[in-house]
């Protein structure tokens, strides 16, 4: 057995250096918790789907915006949710199957009931198809391909939207990740004992 002394690193000699040679004030000054301004997932420019094909990506975008629509803040698609979903699908074979069969089910249902694929329907018809799926999911009773797809689609839409800058900062008004000199105590007498 070779005895490799070179892997033995003795670092005692540099130990005299203090790990934190700054006063608290200096530390705060150099320690600005600015929220980064670049967000790769939301970057401008067209996204090229890796897993979904063109029409699938279009349908996913429509459903995402039906789940989280634009209001006084942008909706799911503007927040990059379809790209996020495609990224997740690309790395997750279980979800891939669920989405492929689910998207087919959506189009078949749309064709049967309205004579057109889902993405070409008006919003009212689209909502009509999605509503019973959502109700089954809310009851904890998602069984059919469509219901199982909707549950996955809604989960990924919520994840993608509320972890985006638009969803977390603009919509939900996230205010954390800052430097506070002191933690502000509760100023609401109605919260007290």
């Amino acid at each position: 057995m070779e005895n490799r002394r070179d892997t033995l690193k003795i670092i005692g000699a540099i130990g005299a250096t203090c790990a934190f040679p700054f006063s608290a004030d200096e530390l705060y000054a150099q320690h600005a918790h600015t929220v980064p301004t670049t967000a790769p997932a939301n970057a401008a420019g067209p996204y090229h789907p890796k897993f979904l094909n063109g029409t699938e990506f279009e349908t996913v975008s429509i459903v995402a915006d039906l789940i989280i629509p634009p209001t006084d803040t942008p909706g799911a698609t503007a927040a990059g949710v379809p790209a996020y979903i495609d990224t997740v699908l690309d790395a997750n074979s279980e979800y891939q199957h669920r989405f492929r069969t689910g998207l087919k089910w959506l189009d078949n249902t749309a064709l049967k009931r309205f004579g057109k694929p889902f993405r070409q329907l008006d919003e009212r018809s689209q909502v009509e198809i999605l509503t019973p799926l959502s109700e089954a999911v809310d009851k904890g009773d998602a069984r059919s391909e469509g219901e199982i797809f909707f549950r996955a689609m809604k989960s990924l839409t919520a994840d993608g939207y509320y972890t985006s800058r638009i969803g977390l900062v603009d919509e939900l008004q996230y205010k954390g990740n800052t430097v506070l000199a002191a933690f502000p105590p509760c100023k609401h007498p109605e919260h007290r004992e």
């Binding site: 892997t7 790209a83 996020y84 809310d138 800052t178």
Partner: protein
């Protein structure tokens, strides 16, 4: 070239290894710490202040790009889990040490609160624990920095709990609420568990080990994955054999005493891997108790929305995660089980909105309902004490190996009747307190999950039923010690780290004294 023989080799650099090695070095003992992971620059290594949208996957990795660390359970890095812990720091009380004598279940510790009290004192002085003296029988007070104020949501919980006669106290954390000469006060950015890059929160590397390097008696060998503790024919361990984390090159450290402090499961695994003629079933395992009596805490959980805060403006209230705690309150109440639970709550940060998945409906109403509830979201995470049972143990996987060709450790956990009763009762009490505080319940965990791994090398007086004695020395081998969560004979319901550190401080005092007298 004569080979260097250290007085003490400590395997692991977390709460136990860091405290122990620093104390020994300060006593003039030549100590070497072996750590499987790399050296970590706390200021620059972690994605401390990242937001999920900085990453296409929306998942924030622990380390910055290209920085090694926290790659596996064996190779976290110098500082171990203290780098990413939440820093909750309770003392155990008499009831925690002597549970069996009190209610007949589980196992007593061979030591009691007064044995550890002076070491709790010392550790608290060194690490800086903020908290309030609450004068509770089962949660001894310590030496505290000022407590951190409650959040609005904590006040609402306190109001609800009080109606049921349940007390809410300030959390006690090894996080500085006021600056020291070398560490700033916490600035409440909510990133404690992502790696506190200013070391307002204690970690063993920056607070214990790096300052102790100045003594000239401490050597840290990082990137050294321990795989065997050799034992001589004279029944003495001689040091540690290891593999380099990246090159896999073999190396060996020689020491007069070896202390295993790799955190519960990995400590057990290392001893089980160290088979020899004397110890064919694993080092210090003549009793067969090694790996047995695995008693991790179990936790449940309730997610809810506080109605007082629904629709209110958001505030910057991530703080240092949880600011309050509900200590065990069942000891004075009638119940049909042994032991108890405590409730941690409000330690989610506001960057995780996973609960939005299960809000009903879709469309504008759904979006509005998530927004309204966002400032009101709160989680309850009760922790229960598990009793030891024969189906709960740690062993080595006979087939699966890790990146170094070493067997993976397996955890086997079976919850028995007493555990199930605690789980049901802590869920029931959580719901009662939340409802009393005016909460809308969102989701309730139906099944327990493990946390805070404890047991496997339990401490005891009987060498046939335990692995180490009251001094953390193995019954079998006179110069081999274990100090971490694995030595806990009973788990308490309280977060274990401060007790692990107090045990390490006590062992340092014992070993240092023995070495001084020429006995070790």
């Amino acid at each position: 070239m004569g080979r260097k023989v250290y007085d003490v080799c400590v395997i692991g650099s977390g709460a136990a290894g860091g405290t122990l090695s620093a104390h020994l070095a300060q006593m003039g003992v030549d100590v070497v710490v072996l750590e499987g992971g790399p050296k970590i620059n706390t200021r620059t290594a972690f994605n401390t202040h990242a937001m999920p949208f900085d990453f296409a996957s929306r998942h924030i990795p622990t380390m910055r790009p290209g920085v090694a660390g926290f790659d596996s359970e064996r190779t976290r890095g110098v500082g171990g889990k203290t780098m990413t812990w939440n820093a909750v720091a309770w003392r155990f009380g008499h009831r925690d040490f002597k549970g069996r004598s009190i209610d007949g279940a589980g196992e007593d510790w061979p030591i009691d609160y007064p044995d550890l009290a002076p070491y709790y004192d010392r550790v608290e002085r060194e690490v800086g624990v903020c908290g309030n003296a609450d004068h509770l029988e089962d949660l001894p007070d310590g030496i505290f920095l000022p407590p951190v104020p409650f959040k609005c949501s904590d006040e609402i919980i306190r109001r609800g709990a009080k109606k049921l006669g349940v007390r809410v106290i300030h959390v006690r954390k090894a996080t500085r609420s006021v600056a020291s000469a070398t560490r700033p006060a916490c600035h409440f950015c909510g990133n404690c568990m992502a790696g506190c890059d200013v070391v307002a929160k204690y970690n063993s590397a920056d607070v214990h080990m790096i300052p102790a390097l100045k003594t000239g008696h401490l050597t840290i060998v990082h990137d050294a994955v321990a795989y065997e503790i050799p034992v001589s024919d004279e029944n003495r361990v001689t040091g540690v054999r290891y593999l380099n984390r990246t090159t896999q090159a073999e190396g060996e450290i020689y020491a007069r005493n070896v202390v295993v402090a790799c955190a519960c499961v990995q400590s057990v695994a290392l001893l089980l891997m160290s088979r020899s003629r004397l110890y064919p079933a694993g080092l210090a395992n003549s009793s067969g108790a090694l790996g047995r009596h695995f008693i991790p805490h179990f936790t449940g959980g309730v997610e809810c929305f506080l109605t007082d805060l629904i629709g209110k403006p958001t505030t910057d209230d991530e703080g240092f995660l949880d600011h309050a705690y509900i200590p065990s309150f069942m000891h004075e109440r009638k119940r049909d089980y042994a032991r108890s639970f405590g409730i941690q709550f409000n330690y989610q940060n506001r960057r995780a909105v996973g609960w939005a998945r299960s809000m009903p409906g879709f469309g504008k109403a759904y979006k509005a309902s998530v927004k309204q509830r966002y400032p009101a979201f709160l989680t309850f995470s009760p922790y229960g004490e598990m009793l030891p049972n024969p189906q709960s143990f740690i062993d080595l996987d006979p087939d699966k190996k890790d990146a170094w060709g070493l067997p993976l450790a397996r955890r086997h956990v079976a919850w028995k009747e007493n555990d199930r009763k605690i789980f049901a009762d802590m869920t029931r009490w959580s719901l009662a307190i939340l409802k009393s505080a005016g909460a809308e319940i969102h989701e309730v965990s139906e099944e327990p999950r493990t946390n805070h791994e404890l047991g496997g090398c339990r401490m005891g007086t009987d060498p046939r039923r335990s692995v180490v004695n009251a001094d953390c020395r193995t019954h079998d081998v006179p110069n081999l010690y274990v100090v971490d969560g694995s030595v806990f004979p009973s788990a308490s319901e309280k977060n274990p780290t401060l007790t692990i550190m107090a045990l390490a401080a006590r062992l340092a005092s014992y070993l240092g004294e023995s070495l001084r007298k020429g006995e070790a």
